[in-house]
């Protein structure tokens, strides 16, 4: 299965042209309103394509705990949409005084974070009554004192919680580039990261573009998938052949035809 991240500039065209994609994926929070046009549009999309709900705000790694209202709004949306899959990130955004960073901030990779993530993933799965996929992050900072390798962290999280991994191969390349690897070496490093995953844990693969800026690589989802990311994707496909793949494009969104070309390439 190969899908497309369905964003506002393409709402109308996708419903009108109904191109051959296997599923569409949306950001859950964009449809949290009690009513209105966005939700109605999503339900129209749901009548044409299977839908996957991908969250960016659950804040699974927050030491302040999950926002019960957020979880309830997600549960309501899941009930309305009956999605193929529900996912969010191994990140935090919510802090103690009720503030939300509206970003995917990095968590530490240690036993304490793992225990926290296990609790929260369990809480979400209990409420939604379905398994969750948790995405690996791109990050521009790390925490001092990490004690676990990231693949080991996800292997354990998936084993112990029953969740799956949403493997973002673009994030792996971005992280490797920001860890100091050249482009070719970053692809090799990302493939090695994939090799450390347990069999069967990947429930979906994300593909996106990134920006190579002076002194930093930014995960902006604003361009075509890079050659290095395609290389890691092909590598991951050998091990996780059945995992659905998705093209994400969130900034400077181009014509739908461009996204469909990328979907075709991912098939």
């Amino acid at each position: 299965m190969t899908g497309l991240g369905w964003r506002q500039p393409h709402y109308e065209q996708l419903l009108r042209d109904r191109p051959a994609v296997d599923f569409i994926e949306v950001h859950s929070e964009n449809f949290f309103a009690a009513g209105g046009a966005a939700l109605a549009t999503l339900m129209q999309g749901r009548s044409v394509y299977p839908v996957s709900l991908h969250g960016v705000g659950l804040s699974l790694g927050s030491s302040a705990g999950l926002d019960p209202q957020h979880l309830e709004r997600l549960a309501r949306l899941v009930e309305q949409v009956d999605p193929l899959r529900v996912s969010d990130h191994a990140s935090f955004a919510r802090v103690g005084n009720g503030l939300h960073a509206s970003d995917l901030l990095p968590i530490a990779f240690d036993e304490e974070s793992l225990a926290l993530m296990l609790r929260h993933v369990d809480q979400v799965q209990e409420r939604l009554k379905r398994p969750l996929l948790v995405e690996n992050l791109s990050a521009y900072l790390g925490w001092e004192g990490d004690t676990m390798a990231e693949p080991e962290f996800f292997n354990t999280l998936c084993q112990q919680s029953g969740c799956g991994l949403l493997l973002d191969v673009n994030n792996l390349v971005v992280n490797a580039r920001n860890a100091g690897f050249g482009i070719a070496a970053a692809a090799v490093s990302a493939c090695a990261w994939v090799d450390q995953l347990d069999d069967g844990i990947v429930g979906e693969i994300h593909l996106a573009g990134h920006a190579e800026l002076p002194g930093i690589v930014i995960d902006d989802h604003g361009s075509r998938v890079s050659d290095a990311v395609w290389q890691v994707y092909r590598h991951a496909r050998k091990r996780f052949a059945d995992a659905p793949a998705l093209i994400e494009w969130d900034t400077d969104v181009p014509a739908l035809e461009v996204l469909l070309e990328e979907v075709g390439r991912a098939r």
């Binding site: 309103a33 109605a40 957020h70 939300h100 509206s102 901030l105 521009y140 920001n178």
Partner: protein, 217 residues
């Protein structure tokens, strides 16, 4: 990782407090400071984009550069509190009102744009025609009008949703008082003033889609 450390990272992104024990990534020139700056740049862009989608007239009034600067100051003063950024912005009018020499019309415009935004996100409702029979002979002290979700009064402007789009219209003072009373949950009897033409109002309400039904209280 402690809550204090997470709070400290968020504060550092907002440009205040002491950064927690962060590790810069060796491929990023400038280390942890540059990493923080990347998160800050994202938050700034997000602040401007989120507010621009809700307050297009304020954006036109201030211009892109001033609007983006204002959005970041507002973000730092009143950061988002939920994972749905569409929830963020209700405090903007009050924030602007507190700025020195702020034009009152800009504040009023901001209040109106927020109300329009809320109306477009409000729950969908279907018109309960049968419930109108309660108006025929029912005790007004025991009746209340059910206005379309998202309907609000901003000064003398009524905001409501028609189809998917929010609209606004100026009300005369008497009608505004009536709508205000109904929006606050008062009974029909308590909302009706001497001389208020309820029949005429009802026709308008049905035509414009303000009313979705009548209920007993």
């Amino acid at each position: 990782m402690s809550l204090a450390a997470q709070q400290a990272l968020l504060d550092a992104i907002l440009g205040r407090g002491v950064a927690p024990p962060l590790r810069g990534l060796v491929g990023i020139e400038g280390g942890a400071a540059r990493g923080l700056q990347a998160y800050r740049a994202n938050a700034k862009a997000l602040a401007a984009r989120a507010l621009a989608s809700v307050f297009p007239r304020l954006l036109a009034e201030l211009g892109e550069v001033n609007f983006a600067a204002m959005a970041w100051v507002f973000w730092r003063a009143f950061p988002p509190k939920s994972g749905d950024l569409a929830d963020w912005g209700d405090e903007l009018a009050g924030f602007l009102a507190a700025q020195p020499e702020m034009d009152a019309s800009v504040v009023a415009q901001t209040q109106l744009e927020w109300a329009l935004h809320e109306a477009e996100r409000a729950a969908d409702a279907t018109f309960n025609a049968e419930s109108l029979a309660l108006l025929d002979g029912g005790d007004p002290q025991c009746l209340r009008l059910m206005l379309r979700p998202g309907t609000a009064l901003v000064g003398s402007l009524l905001v409501w949703r028609r189809g998917w789009r929010a609209m606004s219209a100026e009300l005369d003072a008497r009608t505004a008082r009536f709508m205000g009373a109904q929006l606050s949950g008062a009974s029909l009897a308590a909302s009706l003033e001497e001389g208020f033409d309820f029949s005429n109002w009802l026709q308008d309400a049905l035509r414009q889609g303000w009313l979705v039904g009548v209920e007993e209280i």
